[in-house]
């Protein structure tokens, strides 16, 4: 297959991809797993969504004012509306929604009743809040010793920082990622855009819950899962760069722009219509890159051949010699030339270009959902393709309190008269 990498910009809001069947009868791997989420923002909602997408029955509990994501954008047309937050919708499809005021005795009682008949509880309340409400792990395991309870906190459940507040920015910088890897020497340490720490904590939580679920079969009891947003980054992203020998050898604290530690070339460089990421860590990658550039005389000396460490001393010279070739070409042309010679250098895409990426389109990655009141909307689809129990988008994100009656009356046996009283009192 000849390498190629066209991208196209679809017209925003007018996208034609086939709508997948809702597949109501398809088999899912986690059918029957009962999950309750008390999530706010990104981390816990994302963890529960990953389980929901695998077929788990997820009930999302929100305070009467709703998950914070409802008040944050982006909103279609930039008009704030708690039922039209793109962040909320992306993180909460496939769930049912229940509102409960956990600051009331009745709200807490109903949550505990729900957890009594559930397998998993995932929450990311601020430090201390659940404990003050009498909803710490001790209370939960008392009502249901088989419960798998995952708590995501800025710094974890124990230790000297356990009560500290934090968010994505503090997690990123508390993890040392900013100082070590990201930024420029003359500017302050920088974070990655997006909500990296929170998403990352979410997927770690999902994996941990699945481990604990298997563990429950082995040991016959539930357990507590403790996740720190800061440690998720410091360990999972940086961890293996922090091991003792790196530390002993002083390989840290090196913010140095887009050029990477390790060797040359490994940098984002400007080209005619944007940027390319030029990377050649192994000898054959360098050979491929040289061929892609048309084997210019400057690039062929023997001293440049080999892994990228050998070229490290010549970084400024190599980048400067490469630049005229880049300046005359667009990123797609450079990308293609490199791929033809099996060199992994790539175009630097913006969000729109990724959205239209023809490889993702060919794989049917973006999936259309119909959100009531909003019409069709494309969301990122399966993060993994399972041959027998596929990832399925079954239902839109819930409106605030949409399933109050269904869950409270259907699952907990609350009478309709009692439900009316709860509504009047603002408990649900």
């Amino acid at each position: 297959m000849p390498p190629s990498s066209r991208t196209s910009y679809p017209a925003p809001g007018n996208l034609s991809v086939p709508t997948p069947d809702p597949l109501p009868n398809s088999r899912t791997s986690l059918a029957g797993l009962r999950v309750v989420e008390y999530g706010d923002g990104v981390a816990a909602p994302f963890a529960a969504k990953l389980l929901a997408d695998l077929g788990a029955d997820v009930i999302k509990v929100e305070p009467p004012a709703g998950d914070r994501s409802r008040s944050l954008g982006p909103f279609p047309g930039d008009e704030p509306d708690p039922e039209r937050s793109a962040q909320y919708i992306a993180l909460n499809t496939n769930k049912r929604g229940l509102t409960l005021d956990l600051d009331t005795e009745t709200g807490r009682r109903l949550l505990l009743e729900l957890l009594r008949a559930s397998d998993v509880f995932i929450e990311n309340a601020p430090p201390g809040v659940m404990e003050r409400r009498g909803l710490g792990y001790g209370a939960l395991s008392h009502v249901n010793p088989m419960l798998l309870a995952a708590s995501i906190r800025p710094f974890g459940l124990t230790g000297p920082y356990r009560d500290y507040l934090g968010g994505d920015l503090t997690a990123w910088h508390g993890s040392a990622l900013g100082h070590r890897y990201l930024g420029e020497p003359d500017r302050e340490p920088l974070r990655a855009s997006g909500e990296y720490a929170s998403y990352y904590a979410g997927v770690n939580a999902a994996a941990a819950v699945m481990l604990a679920y298997h563990g429950r079969d082995r040991i016959g009891q539930g357990q507590l899962i403790d996740i720190s947003e800061t440690e998720v980054l410091s360990v999972s992203t940086l961890g293996y760069g922090l091991v003792s020998l790196f530390y002993e050898k002083g390989l840290h604290n090196a913010r140095r722009g887009s050029a990477q530690r390790g060797g040359v070339p490994a940098a984002m460089l400007p080209c005619k219509d944007g940027y390319v990421f030029i990377f050649a860590s192994e000898a054959h990658m360098w050979d491929g890159l040289v061929k892609a550039m048309g084997s210019p005389e400057w690039a062929t000396p023997e001293m440049f051949r080999g892994r990228y460490e050998v070229r490290a001393p010549y970084g400024p010279e190599i980048y400067a010699m490469m630049q005229p070739w880049l300046d005359q070409r667009g990123k797609e042309e450079i990308f293609l030339a490199c791929q033809e010679h099996r060199a992994p250098s790539t175009a630097v895409y913006d969000i729109g270009e990724v959205f239209g990426n023809f490889h993702l389109r060919a794989r049917g990655f973006f999936i259309e959902t119909r959100q009531p009141g909003l019409g069709a909307m494309e969301l990122p689809g399966p993060p993994y393709r399972m041959s027998l129990t596929p990832w399925v988008l079954r239902r839109p994100a819930p409106r605030l309190g949409e399933h109050n009656a269904e869950v409270l009356c259907g699952r907990l046996g609350v009478s309709s008269g009692e439900l009316a009283r709860l509504r009047k009192a603002g408990t649900v």
Binding site: L165, A207, A208, N253, F355, Y384
Partner: protein, 414 residues
Amino acid sequence: MEQTQREAQRQALAGVKVLDFSWAVAGPMTTKTLAVHGATVVKVESNLRLDGPRVAPPFRGKPGRNNSAYYTDINTSKYSITLNMTRPEGIDVAKRLVAWADIVAENFSPGVMGRWGLAYPDLKRIKPDIIMISSSMQGAAGPNATHPGLGQTLGALVGINHFTGWPDREPLGLAIPYTDVISPWFAATALLAALEHRDRTGEGQWIDVSQFETAVHMLAPAFIDYAANGRIQQRVGNRSPYWSPHGVYRCKGDSPQGDWVAIAVTSDEEWEGFRRAIGASGEGWTRDERFETTLGRVRHAGDLDALVEQWTVDLTPDEAVERLQAERVPSSVVATARELHADPQLAHIGQFVQVDHPRIGPHAHTHPAFWLSETPAAFRPGALIGEHNELVYKTFIDMPDDEYARLAEDGVFQ
């Protein structure tokens, strides 16, 4: 950390057998998670073509194939065998290992397993309920499936590099193998769900992980913003579109690249806390009506950031965080690797586990970023290459002694 038999049986994945062809980082990080939680993971290697991290720095002493700290950290608690897959006898042995396994893991370029006769349909014939997971750059199928790439280059493809940086400068991107460190947790989630399905139904399956696609999920709101509003999100440095102050501020100190504190005020309540924390030094400007509302603070973020730094610059990062957290303001020291090593929080929770490696000596290995209270992780050092050949071939798959000797002599275990 020595385990008793009883403890080992109490691990989350006790008894789960994994045949691990994975190499480099993304695959081995997935199987490390399984291994430290009790799965028996047999890593298939070869002296003829070494796994990259085996020969990647840092080393204890002179570079070798058994003393990379990098390798041991991402291959903790696994068994290592060597097998020459260029020999038909090697492939036959691999098939016997498939019959032993519950899970086969690999992260080669699409097509490699098939050329060995070890694609999913082949494995299924050998063991009908086998679960196979294949993780690759862009997935097993699609027009760019065979493009070469690395975790670093995928950061450029997925859009994170373009919109990470300062608004007034060129994109900076992430100087990390982005998808190598994201995709393992997605892969582990899917794999454990497939294992659950097999336990319930006796059915195995194949899982295709595109590392590209896992990374798109982490940026979902930006993609929806584009789909809905046609907006291509741009570089904002440390700022937030919703809140201010939201940034990194210079502090007192003598570190070569500066000493910094990260502060994120994300509500009016936290703004009040911030005012209390800075006390008299902010008396004048924190009452400025431009900063009265969240919207006003975001609109005047530049001026606000400069004023915040006038306060932080006379404090050490620790002093600033103590005062801010006392008033419930989200904040953190901007850590360096040095500080993480000395960090009391990480020390308290046991983030780095001292494991005695036969060639490296006592050495800090990273614990997964989550703690299971009743089925904790357990650590053995990354294996020497081929260290477990006898154990695996003779005991796990019952290879007769004479056959083992003959194949070893014949170079099949190279």
